[in-house]
């Protein structure tokens, strides 16, 4: 087994940089508007109304958030289920992104629903007909699974290093014992959670697409199709690896690490076929339902649809087919960023742009407060990521044997 490749360590780097201060300001600005929402109601901060019940927060924080966190389950399926160990180095960063991503999805839902204190209701009040119920339950369980999958990283960080201050020193030994016990139990059972994570993701990624099906003719025909669940699943699968590449290149840039090009190029080479399948279904659906007639008109819908497909799918698909792109970090980054942008736009299109209620008097555009909160969440997410990779063994440094004993390097895969 190739341990040289999998070697996660806490990254040593200064936490506070000018960029970090900017992020903190953005996050604080978002929090201010968030307080407005909790004190004065949704109407005070958002542009939502009876015509447009769902807006930016559902489209981006929730729908796009879930899609862009798909790297977690695609890499888990690839690395653990198919045992491609060469890729294990990226499983942990992807897992961290997914964990943080889903946490913010949950926070996004909490903020958006009118009665946040009843967020637990779906646990005991079931409506099996509701796509939203399915999404809600799956996301809740999957988030728990992600936290469990992350636990070994925490135990690994602290085993043999528990050092409680003052009076608590007496507890050091027992704490260490518990951690070891937990670690042993987890590595024996982890495969259960890994498979569960993949199944749960498949389910709610597609159910997220079912959500808008019930809106029927309120949704523009360019997007409204009964195969929406399939399109959502395929796009989530195809954005998984690009997202991993995207964030891995950003992280190595910002933390001054050498990009893991040997893994990233290989990941990149798998994106083209996935994007191709997605594109085939998207175009095929368009021809079966003959919705291409709408592309002859010049409307917001047709323009947004074209941008989504051309810039977000076709161009990156062509790029990923070229070996030159796969070898060059800037080009690989551009191509991945385009896919990420394409899926983000697709979710915005599905939930916001496509939605035209029969009695709308004006169209919806997110308010400054809504945008502030969304951008603030993204800033917080980046800060949390930075903090965790500096304090926990997540990112692998090739070649340096500074890691924990081998036993802890790969979770759930017993040797």
């Amino acid at each position: 087994m190739s341990h040289e490749l999998v070697n996660p360590v806490p990254i040593k780097h200064k936490f506070f940089t000018p960029g970090v201060y900017v992020l903190i300001v953005i996050a604080l600005n978002g929090l201010v508007f968030l307080m407005g929402r909790f004190f004065f109601g949704l109407g005070a901060v958002t542009n939502l109304n009876d015509q447009y019940p769902w807006g930016l927060w559902i489209g981006v924080d929730v729908a796009a958030g879930v899609a862009l966190a798909a790297g977690g389950f695609t890499t888990a399926a690839f690395g653990h289920v198919m045992h491609k160990e060469e890729y294990h180095a990226i499983v942990r960063p992807a897992l961290l992104t997914a964990m943080l991503g889903y946490t913010f999805v949950a926070v996004g839902v909490f903020v958006d629903i009118g009665r946040w204190y009843f967020i637990w209701h779906p646990l005991i009040m079931w409506n099996g007909n509701s796509a939203l119920f399915e999404v809600g339950i799956c996301v809740m369980i999957y988030m728990t699974v992600l936290y469990i999958e992350f636990l070994p990283i925490v135990t690994e960080r602290f085993i043999g290093k528990v050092n409680l201050p003052g009076l608590l020193t007496a507890l050091n030994k027992p704490a260490d014992k518990i951690l070891r016990l937990l670690d042993r139990g987890l590595s024996k059972t982890m495969f259960i959670f890994i498979i569960a994570g993949v199944v749960l993701s498949t389910l709610h990624q597609s159910s997220l697409g079912t959500l808008m099906v019930i809106a029927g003719p309120k949704m523009h025909p360019l997007w409204q199709t009964p195969v929406l669940p399939l399109l959502f699943l395929l796009s989530a699968v195809s954005v998984g690896f690009p997202m991993v590449i995207f964030e891995s290149l950003i992280a190595s840039r910002s933390l001054k690490l050498k990009p893991e090009m040997h893994i990233l190029s290989r990941l990149g080479s798998m994106i083209a076929p996935l994007l191709g399948i997605y594109l085939a279904f998207k175009i095929g659906d368009m021809f079966i339902r003959e919705t291409f007639v709408y592309l002859n008109e010049f409307t917001t819908a047709s323009v947004m649809f074209s941008i989504e497909v051309v810039l977000g799918v076709i161009i990156p698909l062509r790029m990923f087919l070229s070996p030159k792109v796969l070898k060059s970090p800037p080009l690989l980054f551009t191509a991945s960023a385009l896919v990420v942008f394409g899926v983000l736009l697709n979710r915005i299109n599905n939930f916001v742009v496509a939605y035209t209620p029969p009695y709308s008097t004006e169209s919806y555009f997110p308010s400054f407060g809504e945008i502030s909160v969304t951008v603030g969440f993204v800033a917080l997410l980046v800060l949390a990521y930075r903090f965790i990779v500096m304090n926990f063994p997540v990112i692998s440094l090739p070649g340096q044997q500074t890691a924990q004993p081998k036993k802890y390097t790969i979770r759930g895969v017993e040797k």
Binding site: F40, G41, G43, A44, T46, L48, N49, D50, P53, W54, V81, M82, H83, E85, I113, G114, R115, F118, I119, H121, P122, M125, W126, N127, G128, N129, S130, A131, L132, F133, E134, G136, F191, I195, A196, V198, V199, S206, T210, L211, M212, V213, I214, A215, G216, P217, P221, Q224, T225, P226, V227, P229, L230, I288, R289, T291, V293, P357, P358, Y359
Partner: protein
């Protein structure tokens, strides 16, 4: 919009949907109360009889503890110049349109929840806060609702409203068919106050007979269409009019129940948990096989 109507696309969508899943929507299990009683009640709104007095608006507010104002103030017809929608302050509103065939009188249309026979709101609600009651009313339970507003996105008639200005306990507001009155056999407040015979409350199947009769006796007065008889699978509230319903701002909806496609997809994905469990087993199998293969390879190396 170009030549094709959205309804056509929807029709096609339904066809693709049922092929894609191969399952019917009738296999619902866990879910809210959704009764389709033979004797469910309904209201027939005859827009040719309505005089636009808006007394129903007042009575509705009065019956639901909403600020109603003085009944006299409703005589002011200026408000009819703008098109309004039911919202958190008024569960029903009357809009006025230019006259229809064979009459010089304007057409007044009372708008409220249609109390669908296959309600999208009931199917959509994440916690099952909406339910279709035996007497035909579609009602909402404030103790369950989490305020996600999916019901609003789902309703094809764009009816449920939400109290966006409330930080605590915002309500979903919509006509409840005066459930508190109708469950005891009383008439809805709006029907009760209507001074002309614009609103007729009764068993739905009776109302359809009455409506057909009126059209037959007065073919010059009505267009030959009972809105709500078949739309989205039928609604408890139905309309008669002297002009095409499209001109009265009714959305052009097909005959298929609004939740049909999404429910069949939903049940297709879940079908008694067979697909998720099979997927789990499949992935487990792959994981085990690839692991075995890796182990064998390593053994060979040694």
């Amino acid at each position: 919009m170009s030549g094709k109507s959205r309804r056509d696309f929807l029709k096609k969508s339904v066809a693709i949907g049922s092929v894609a899943t191969g399952l019917s929507a009738s296999t619902a299990k866990a879910g809210p109360k959704n009764i389709l009683s033979e004797d469910r009640m309904g209201v027939l709104v005859d827009t040719t009889a309505c005089v636009g007095c808006r007394n129903c608006e007042w009575a509705c507010k009065d019956a639901h503890n909403l600020p109603a104002g003085n009944l006299d103030s409703y005589e002011d017809r200026k408000i009819l110049e703008t098109k309004r929608r039911p919202d958190q302050t008024a569960l029903t509103v009357v809009n006025e349109y230019p006259h229809g065939k064979n009459s010089n009188l304007p057409v007044d249309v009372k708008v409220q929840c249609m109390h669908c026979d296959h309600p999208a709101c009931v199917s959509a609600c994440i916690v099952g806060a909406f339910s279709k009651q035996e007497n035909g009313s579609v009602i909402w339970d404030t103790d369950m609702c989490i305020g996600c507003r999916y019901c609003m996105a789902a309703c094809p008639f764009q009816i449920p409203a939400f109290e966006y200005d409330k930080a605590i306990n915002p309500l979903i507001m919509k006509c409840d068919f005066c459930f508190n009155r109708t469950k005891d056999g009383k008439l809805p407040a709006c029907v009760n106050i209507c001074p002309v015979e614009a609103l007729t409350c009764g068993p739905r199947h009776e109302l359809i007979k009455i409506a057909r009769n009126r059209i037959k006796r007065n073919p010059n007065r009505y267009v030959n269409h009972i809105l709500g008889e078949y739309e989205v699978g039928g609604t408890s509230w139905m309309y008669l009019a002297s002009k095409e319903f499209k001109e009265l701002d009714f959305p052009d909806l097909g005959k298929n129940p609004a939740p049909g496609v999404s429910e069949s997809i939903q049940h297709g994905i879940f079908a008694y948990f067979v697909p998720p469990v099979s997927l789990y087993a499949l992935l487990g199998g792959i994981m085990w096989i690839t692991k075995r293969r890796k182990e064998l390879e390593e053994e060979e190396k040694i």
